[in-house]
Symmetry: C2
Subunit: 352 residues, 2 copies
């Protein structure tokens, strides 16, 4: 651990391996079995490594509370049923989201090798974290990966005035022979975490991010916290978000809209759902096409104006920037709020 | 056919059945077999019925030229190969897009009944038209439908200055027991047809729709026509569009980026691709969940402010508005530009 960087909001630099070890210790002390703790810790570290603190160690205190309250259960295997040759239904039995999801992804990757395409739908399981690590690993395993998960209702419908839809992200991983293309995008204009951060600093938010509790567009971050996030991209982003809500809920048997609970709170069992689809490049004989995909993406990368500072090119392919940030954080350490890290270390020492 | 409506741009009202019959006559006169002509005509009529003239009879003159030039071939069956139990590869052999796609969709709907999930990828086939009618019919057949197709490069990457990505739409149909949810959205901010219409009328376009040939944001419609459409929703819309480009090209063996041709022009064979995925509600035993989906969507529909004129509610579910427009056009006739309809009738008489 290095000294905090200077600045208004002090951060410390923690190596990924140190962060992982501390999270594992905290989870095990709270009752997790070691194998579960390792998978959950890995996913939180990935969030911080990729520069998405909202999916990083910041979530650990809530996970610990949920574990202590029996809302997350460790050491219990999920129930798997192949309801059709290409379709796996999973009851996560309140397991850690990443533990249940990683196992399901492994099973559909395997099944896609014989079926060509396979689908897993998951219910009764914890928050999966970012979708990027899943679809990236599917891409690296030679499969196209498609993933979605739904969240608590935080986004208002287009033309609507209150939160009715989750921030429902869509993840797509496409193999290229080299680094896969990795899409991971929320259908909200912004995360609630970012709005809360603005409110805490007393800063205004841009118009278009959110509405207040009366459904009016607002630049007041505090008013937005008690209102709703706007969908990204207007009517289209809303349409995509609600389509994913219906699709995931139908496949997984999750709740919908304001009945979705148990990823952000410390009192409700998880009622959201997750879906993962794998399509095997090898089973379909598509390997000869990979170089054309890679070549196209390189042409796109080279198609922008050079950045004025000679640094990062202006055009990137989904996954590029997260990969660059991740590599830098692996070298230089992960920046974590000093206050948060102190809290985590106190958790580790059993004094919180 | 009723007299033209008054206004700057005169339109005529044509019944859907009259429009369909005229299009069929034109296609048959240009060499199409009757069964192919019927399917292609149906899809153009659906475009006009749903209020998307850019996918309506406006496209007929190009289809006729492509047919005469041998770039569309009628009366030849596509080649179908199940490369895995859940994956169908289709060589359209230059058939009409809707003819090849409808057959492929029927095959994956059927296969999904035993496999749970099935995928079709199509190459060497004409423009499919809107995705909505396909995913809607999949939803009505008790399957979740997911569809995408790629187009000529018309959209610039986020941060980029020239067109490198298609307007690549995403379609999702979700059964509800009643009318399915139907998402059909382009990943471009607007269609090139709309920009061309503005240019023809000498009207400015809103900032954010497009860039000029130097990659600068522009409100000059004529400059935008020789530039590139912007992605919808900024970086996220771009990321979704390029992910679909890579996914469709890998699965179908289509071309990519500026090598995609043959849907808008009259000289190139079709080099784009299409993908359809069907997931069977019945095979997976999901029917008991349909009422919850329908109930949620009804709550969302009722969650907005009442429209000020007491008319259409402010919040709708994807597919609602197109369905309303379609029903009105079925009753009142389809509005078609009078000039265009005259041109179509001349085509029918063999004098164009």
């Amino acid at each position: 651990m290095n000294p905090p960087a200077s600045g208004a909001s002090p951060t410390v630099r923690v190596s990924a391996s140190e962060e992982r070890a501390v999270i594992e210790n905290v989870l095990i002390a709270a009752g997790a079995v070691a194998t579960d703790a390792a998978v959950q810790a890995e996913m939180l570290v990935e969030g911080d490594l990729r520069g998405h603190a909202s999916h990083g160690v910041r979530r650990l205190p809530v996970l610990v509370e949920r574990l202590r309250a029996g809302l997350i259960v460790s050491g219990v295997d999920a129930e798997h049923e192949w309801t059709a040759p290409g379709a796996l239904a999973v009851d996560g039995r309140r397991g850690f989201g990443p533990v249940v999801a990683r196992k399901a992804v492994d099973m559909v990757l395997d099944r896609a090798r014989t079926q060509g395409i396979a689908l897993a739908s998951i219910r009764n399981s914890g928050h999966v974290g970012m979708l990027a690590p899943y679809v990236e690993s599917m891409g690296a395993a030679g499969c196209i990966g498609i993933a979605s998960t739904i969240s608590e209702a935080l986004v208002h419908p287009w033309g609507g005035i209150r939160a009715m839809v989750g921030t429902n992200p869509l993840g797509i991983g496409v193999p290229t022979g080299g680094e896969p293309l990795v899409l991971d995008m929320s259908t909200g204009a912004v995360s609630m975490g970012k709005i809360i951060d603005h409110a805490a600093r007393g800063e205004a938010i841009p118009l278009g991010w959110a509405v207040d509790s009366d459904g009016r567009q607002t630049t007041d971050a505090a008013a937005a916290v008690s209102g709703a996030i706007s969908p990204f991209g207007g009517a289209k982003g809303y349409a995509l978000g609600i389509a994913l809500e219906a699709l995931v809920a139908l496949l997984s048997g999750s709740s919908l809209g304001t009945d979705v609970m148990g990823t952000l709170d410390t009192v409700h069992p998880p009622t959201k759902g997750d879906v993962f689809i794998a399509i095997s490049v090898e089973a379909l004989g598509l390997q000869p096409r990979l170089p054309a995909i890679a070549a196209y993406l390189d042409v796109v990368r080279g198609s922008g104006r050079a950045a004025e500072d000679g640094g990062v090119p202006a055009v990137s392919v989904p996954g590029d920037r997260a990969r660059q940030v991740r590599e830098r954080h692996l070298r230089e350490g992960v920046p974590i709020s000093a206050e948060l890290w102190q809290r985590i270390l106190m958790l580790e020492r059993g004094s919180a």
